[in-house]
C-alpha cells in the first residue's frame, strides 16, 4: 500500500465517478422538483437552483460514508478498478439513454447493473450474489412504486376532501409553500444519499489503487468535488425527465403536488430508516401516479407509466451489458479507449437530444396531443391561462384543417394525413398540441 499501482486507470476511474455523480444529479432533479415545476409552485430555474443548493448542503450534512458499492449484491472481493470503471460507464450510459427518452429511472440501479455486468465479465456468475440482486434491486423496483402510489393516493384523497369548498386561489397560494417545503426535503435527502455513493466509490477506487491506506476516511477534495458535481448536474436540470414526471403522467394541481412530494419524502426517509431499500426515482414516480389515482377526475397516462416500468426492469441487464462490454474493452485496449468511447457516446446522445430540446422554457408546455382539443382546454383551466386554449397555427398548410373540434374529425384527419403521405408529426401538430416536444 502507499504506492499507486496504476495512476492512469485511477485518475480515469475518479473522473468517471464524478461524471456519474453529475448524471445522477442531472437525472434525479425531477424526483424532487418535477411536481413543483409542473404546478408552478416555483419557476423552473428557481426550482433547479434550490434543488442544487440543497443537494450540495445534503452532501455535507452527513459524512458517514461506507466504502462499499453494491454491498450484498456482488462479491466485494472482485470489485477492482477495471470493474468499477465498467460499472460506472454502464451506469452513465444508461442514465443518458433514459434521459434522452425522458424516462425517470434509478441511478443507483443503473450503477449496480453496470457493476454486476462488469463482475460477470471479470469473475463469472459466481461473483454475483443473485439472491441479493433479487432482494435488493429487482423486487424493490416493483414494490417501491406501489407503496408510494398507495400513500400518495390516500394523501391526495384526504387532502382534496379536506379542502372542499376552499377557493382554488387560496388553495394554490398555500399549497405551493407546502410543496416547496416537501420538495426541499427530497432534495436534501438525495444529496446526502447519492453524493455519498459517489464519495464511497471514489474512496474505494483510491484504496484499491493504493493511493490512500485502507482505513482512510474520505479526503476533503473528494467530498467537495462530489458535492459540486452533483449540484452542477442538478442545476443543469434533466428537463426531459422533469417533463415526463411532472407533465406526462398526470396533470398535477397544487394539492396533488403537495401530496406527491410529501409521500416521496416520507417513504424515502422511512425506507432507509427501516432498512428497506427503495429507489428515490421509483418512489417519486409512484407518488405522482398515486396523486392522479387519488383525485377524482384526474386522468393518469398509464401507457407512459407502463413504459417506465419496463425501463426499470431493463435497467440492470442493460447497464450490465454496457458494464461487461467496457470491462472487456478495458482488458483489451486500456482505460483510455473506454473513457474516449464514453465521451463519444455521451456527445452523441447530447447531440441527438438537440433535435428536440427540452429546457426550462418548454418544460411545462402542454403534453403532446392524444387528448387534442380537450387536453388543450384542460391545460388552460389548470393553469388559469386562457392563451393555452388557442391552438397552434404554424405547420399548417391546408386552411380547412384548422382547429379540430371533435375527436372524430381529428382521427379522420390523421388517417387522411397518413394517406396523403404527410408525416405523423404534422398530423399530431394539427391535433391541437401547443408544442410537440415530448417523448415518443
Amino acid at each position: 500500500m502507499g504506492v499507486v499501482t496504476d495512476p492512469v486507470l485511477l485518475v480515469i476511474v475518479v473522473a468517471t465517478a464524478l461524471a456519474f455523480d453529475f448524471t445522477n444529479g442531472f437525472h434525479d432533479t425531477g424526483n424532487a422538483m418535477a411536481a413543483s415545476i409542473a404546478t408552478r409552485a416555483m419557476t423552473p430555474k428557481k426550482a433547479v437552483l434550490l434543488s442544487a443548493t440543497l443537494n450540495m448542503v445534503g452532501a455535507f450534512l452527513s459524512l458517514a460514508v461506507a466504502a462499499t458499492i453494491a454491498k450484498g449484491i456482488v462479491d466485494s472481493g472482485v470489485v477492482t478498478l477495471p470493474v468499477l470503471l465498467g460499472g460506472l460507464v454502464g451506469g452513465i450510459v444508461w442514465n443518458l439513454v433514459t434521459w434522452l427518452f425522458g424516462l425517470p429511472s434509478s441511478s443507483s440501479h443503473a450503477l449496480v447493473g453496470g457493476v454486476v455486468g462488469a463482475v460477470l465479465a471479470a469473475a463469472g456468475a459466481s461473483g454475483v450474489l443473485w439472491a441479493g440482486l433479487i432482494a435488493k434491486v429487482l423486487l424493490p423496483a416493483l414494490i417501491g412504486p406501489l407503496v408510494a402510489m398507495f400513500v400518495s393516493s390516500m394523501g391526495t384523497r384526504l387532502v382534496v376532501r379536506s379542502t372542499k369548498g376552499v377557493p382554488q386561489r387560496s388553495i394554490d397560494r398555500n399549497f405551493r409553500w407546502g410543496q416547496i417545503g416537501s420538495a426541499s426535503l427530497v432534495s436534501l435527502a438525495h444529496g446526502t444519499n447519492d453524493a455519498q455513493k459517489s464519495m464511497g466509490i471514489i474512496l474505494l477506487a483510491l484504496i484499491a489503487g493504493g493511493a490512500v491506506p485502507e482505513d482512510s476516511t474520505v479526503p476533503l477534495w473528494v467530498i467537495f468535488s462530489c458535492a459540486l458535481a452533483m449540484a452542477l448536474g442538478t442545476y443543469t436540470g434533466g428537463w426531459r425527465v422533469i417533463r415526463t414526471l411532472g407533465k406526462g403522467l398526470v396533470e398535477l394541481e397544487s394539492r396533488q403536488g403537495l401530496s406527491a412530494d410529501a409521500s416521496t419524502a416520507t417513504v424515502i426517509l422511512l425506507s432507509s430508516h427501516f432498512g428497506f431499500p427503495l429507489s428515490t426515482t421509483h418512489v417519486a414516480t409512484g407518488s405522482v401516479l398515486g396523486s392522479g389515482v387519488g383525485k377524482k377526475g384526474a386522468s393518469v397516462r398509464w401507457h407512459i407509466a407502463g413504459r417506465m416500468f419496463v425501463a426499470w426492469l431493463v435497467t440492470v441487464p442493460a447497464a450490465g451489458l454496457v458494464g461487461a462490454a467496457c470491462y472487456g474493452l478495458n482488458q483489451i485496449s486500456g482505460p483510455y479507449v473506454v473513457f474516449g468511447l464514453l465521451l463519444v457516446v455521451a456527445g452523441g446522445i447530447v447531440a441527438w437530444s438537440r433535435r428536440k430540446p427540452v429546457n426550462h422554457k418548454n418544460v411545462n408546455d402542454a403534453w403532446k396531443a392524444g387528448g387534442g382539443a380537450e387536453s388543450a382546454i384542460a391545460e388552460s383551466l389548470i393553469d388559469h391561462d386562457p392563451s393555452l386554449m388557442v391552438l397552434p397555427k404554424k405547420k399548417k398548410k391546408r386552411k380547412k384543417e384548422k382547429k379540430p373540434k371533435h375527436k372524430k374529425q381529428k382521427k379522420n384527419r390523421k388517417k387522411h394525413a397518413k394517406h396523403s403521405g404527410d408525416d405523423v408529426d404534422r398530423a399530431e401538430a394539427t391535433a391541437g398540441e401547443v408544442n410537440s416536444v415530448g417523448i415518443r
Binding site: 398555500n174 409521500s263 422511512l270 432507509s272
Partner: protein
C-alpha cells in the same frame, strides 16, 4: 418469496408512510381550510381567532415534522 422480502420492514414503511405521508398533507389541508375555507371570514372579512389558532397549530406540527426530518437526515440515520 419471504426469503427475498423483509415483510416486517415493508409493513412498517407502509403503516408509518400512511400515517406521516398522508397524515401531514391532510393536516396541512385542514390548516388551509381553517384559514380560507367556507365560513372562515365573517361579514366584515375578519377571521375568528379560533380558526387562526387551529391553522397555526396544524402548520406548527407540519413544520415540526420537517425539522425532525432534517435532523434525521443530518444524523445519517436514514
Amino acid at each position: 418469496m419471504s426469503e427475498y422480502v423483509e415483510w416486517g420492514s415493508l409493513l412498517e414503511v407502509l403503516v408509518f408512510g400512511l400515517l406521516i405521508g398522508a397524515g401531514l398533507p391532510t393536516l396541512f389541508a385542514l390548516g388551509v381550510r381553517a384559514l380560507a375555507g367556507p365560513g372562515s371570514r365573517d361579514d366584515d372579512g375578519h377571521r375568528s381567532p379560533v380558526r387562526v389558532a387551529v391553522a397555526m397549530a396544524c402548520f406548527a406540527v407540519v413544520i415540526g415534522a420537517i425539522v425532525t426530518a432534517i435532523v434525521i437526515i443530518g444524523r445519517g440515520g436514514h
